[in-house]
């Protein structure tokens, strides 16, 4: 049966972080309106940061998102250190990578097991899955806790960690604390392999899009904190050039601004983008395992992002083990970052995609301007493009099935709506 007229409206999108709605309208077999509506209340972080001290964004911007606070902390400290002409290396740089691994593990596993898997299996929630698959859900919880434990050891608590400062950490972990992570990580590795196999066996709706994948690319590492901003279609810029290449658009149905690349259009950030741009930097173990579970080096079906998240989690576990095993406490847990007038930029890889910060500070370290471009604002036009394409190709589905699949397709992006709301100084007004 082909539906000539469809009106899908989901007023409260479940299993996403923050408040959004979906609206899809089809008239006479043509998609006439597609909207991912974002009604999350604005909180005006960029305005609140003006006049604050340059040491404060590491704590303040964490409050933008309870699911990816580390991403905000890392983009903030790297941007401000750059403004002050300081680069952090050695063991502190390694600890920052480990901290980010912890966040990827906790956020990816939460999304895989609790927010996205229910769509593939026809459950309302991860807790409901537990009724039928208790062992699997228990091992997912244990795996998630391993990520929390890493952030706990390095940051003091899993949400809004307190131990992150400009130049490094207030206190470096002891050898014993780092060693305590080792056994859980080894266990987590086994669980993660099992989780990947489980998700690889799901039925994936067919959707192929020719995305422009945008992510960081570092010369020798799968990216967390450092690298150039690249795409699979030839973009290759420094973070300081990003705003010259991106356009932000304020539309009526969203308190998040939509991002586009100048002359290039909408683009895709997140696990699939990192995967496509950095596949060669993964271990041969992970590359071979990906082939075994049916994931290509460039994966254009967004529904398969759930498996790629699992593979990235595996990488984060391996990277954590490497850092834990090689750890020697640094003589000092931070380098000094004296204030100087200037501008600094940074992009880092939040679990759900590239997160850009810019700060302008004066010679006393007071913030004059701040700019934040979160991943979901960048993905919002891409999410709408996927929805349009999916609806056009699947009008034969009944109303309920089509609606469920549309919601699932939004969740492919692990959208973080609290993050995407309330940012961005507008550069271009297209109205």
């Amino acid at each position: 049966m082909t539906s000539e007229n469809v009106d899908l409206h989901v007023p409260i999108l479940a299993r996403v972080e923050g408040e959004g709605a979906m609206h899809v309208q089809v008239s006479n077999g043509e998609v006439t309106d597609i909207r991912l509506e974002i009604y999350e209340p604005p909180r005006f972080f960029e305005a609140l940061l003006r006049g604050r001290d340059y040491t404060e964004p590491a704590d303040i911007t964490a409050r933008i998102c309870g699911i990816c606070p580390v991403a905000y902390q890392m983009s903030a400290v790297h941007a401000i250190e750059r403004a002050c002409g300081v680069a952090v290396g050695g063991e502190i740089r390694e600890l920052r990578r480990l901290l980010y691994c912890g966040e990827w593990i906790q956020s990816h596993v939460l999304h895989i097991g609790f927010l996205h898997a229910p769509d593939f299996l026809g459950y309302e929630s991860g807790i409901a899955i537990a009724a039928d698959h208790p062992k699997m859900v228990e091992s997912i919880l244990t795996l998630k806790r391993t990520g929390n434990d890493i952030v706990d050891v390095l940051g003091g608590r899993p949400i809004h960690p307190v131990n992150i400062k400009l130049g490094g950490f207030y206190k470096a972990p002891s050898r014993a604390e780092m060693r305590s992570l080792r056994e859980p990580l080894l266990q987590a590795r086994e669980t993660c392999v099992e989780l990947i196999r489980w998700t690889a066996g799901f039925d994936f709706p067919d959707l192929q899009q020719d995305y422009e994948f945008v992510s960081l690319r570092h010369e020798s590492e799968y990216p967390f904190n450092e690298g150039r901003i690249v795409s699979n279609k030839g973009l290759d810029i420094d973070a300081s050039e990003f705003e010259q290449h991106s356009l932000e658009e304020h539309v009526a149905h969203s308190t998040a601004l939509h991002s586009r690349l100048k002359d290039r259009g909408w683009y895709h950030v997140g696990p699939l983008a990192r995967w496509a741009n950095n596949f060669d930097l993964l271990s041969s173990d992970i590359q071979e395992f990906a082939a075994e579970v049916g994931i290509a080096p460039v994966e254009n079906n967004p529904f398969k992002s759930i498996v790629v998240r699992g593979l990235e989690t595996l990488h984060a576990i391996d990277e954590s083990l490497r850092i834990v095993d090689g750890y020697a406490p640094p003589a000092k847990s931070f380098v000094d970052v004296p204030a100087r007038a200037g501008v600094g930029w940074s992009a880092t890889e939040a679990p759900r995609g590239m997160l850009y910060h810019r700060y302008e500070i004066d010679d006393e370290g007071i913030i004059l301007a701040a700019q934040i471009i979160p991943p979901t604002a960048q993905n919002q036009p891409t999410i709408e493009s996927d929805l349009r394409r999916f609806v056009e190709e699947n009008l034969h589905l009944d109303h309920e099935e089509l609606q469920l699949r549309c919601e699932q397709s939004i969740r492919n992006y692990d959208p973080c709506i609290s993050c995407s709301t309330h940012f961005l100084t507008l550069t271009i007004d297209k109205s």
């Binding site: 972080e17 604005p42 309870g66 308190t255 507008l426």
Partner: protein, 262 residues
């Protein structure tokens, strides 16, 4: 005659202006969440489940502050539908970091962030839930402590008051045997005027408390601020230290105004 089966109490989790971190704390209870889901029915928790059962609910957890006209109406409905309302976290309890807008020109803020101010619907102030409805219990923290969350839920299920200490962070430092960061290395610390619950987290990590659990009972903020002056802090920096995650809590607000009346 049939006897109704005893039913589990129902739980609802609501979000207002916030980062989601406090409700995430519930999903971060990896060791307890399945047991908890067995003891009560999670009837409404959109972040975790697409199954949304209509009210009334026995217990409502409310995250976030009130910042829009729509949310002002919504919170009243939450009250009507809930047996017990528990606010979770600094946003719900004192307006949160977004209360830094209070007293500023919000239209200017909108102009800094958005191109079309006419699309944006917001109130002048970010205010705590208790400014608008009766609240049965307030759980502090940015974010809340998950142990305190479990204790609060369990206590309400058992019909007893939650055992949540209202003493200062200093007590927790003493209990942990931490040297005082102010005395030992001259680091400004809000611990003496801040409610505990974090197990003195920041001092344990060699930094001063930044007040994310909000003011303790009868805090002597003025004396502490004088101590900060002796440590070399300027008034504008002292004002900023009180203007963070509990900026709109009365004692912190007053001390910030005393130091920086602008």
């Amino acid at each position: 005659m049939t006897i109704a089966e005893p039913r589990n109490p129902t739980l609802a989790v609501w979000k207002f202006a916030s980062c989601d971190g406090c409700q995430l704390s519930l999903l971060d209870c990896e060791d307890e969440i399945l047991a908890l889901a067995g003891a009560l029915d999670i009837a409404y928790f959109p972040e975790a489940s697409s199954g949304m059962v209509e009210g009334p609910y026995d217990v409502s957890l409310v995250e976030g502050s009130i910042t829009t006209p729509h949310d002002l109406e919504r919170i009243k409905k939450v009250r009507e539908e809930s047996g017990v309302v528990i606010t979770i976290g600094a946003c719900a309890t004192s307006g949160g970091i977004q209360a830094l807008r209070n007293g500023a020109d919000v239209s200017e803020f909108i102009g800094i962030v958005y191109a079309h101010p006419e699309y944006i619907s917001t109130l002048e102030m970010s205010t705590p839930i208790a400014d608008h409805i009766e609240v049965d219990f307030e759980l502090r923290g940015c974010p809340i402590d998950k142990g305190q969350l479990i204790e609060t839920i369990v206590a309400h299920l058992a019909g007893r008051p939650p055992r949540i200490p209202t003493t200062s962070v200093c007590m927790e430092c003493k209990a942990r045997g931490n040297p005082c960061v102010m005395v030992a290395h001259g680091t400004p610390c809000l611990g003496p005027v801040t409610q505990g619950g974090c197990r003195a987290l920041c001092p344990t990590y060699n930094r001063g408390c930044y007040g994310c659990f909000g003011p303790t009972e009868s805090p002597n903020t003025e004396a502490l601020a004088e101590q900060f002056v002796k440590l070399g802090m300027r008034d504008d920096a002292i004002a900023r230290s009180f203007r963070t995650y509990a900026a709109w809590a009365e004692p912190f607000k007053q001390e910030a105004e005393r130091r920086d009346p602008s």
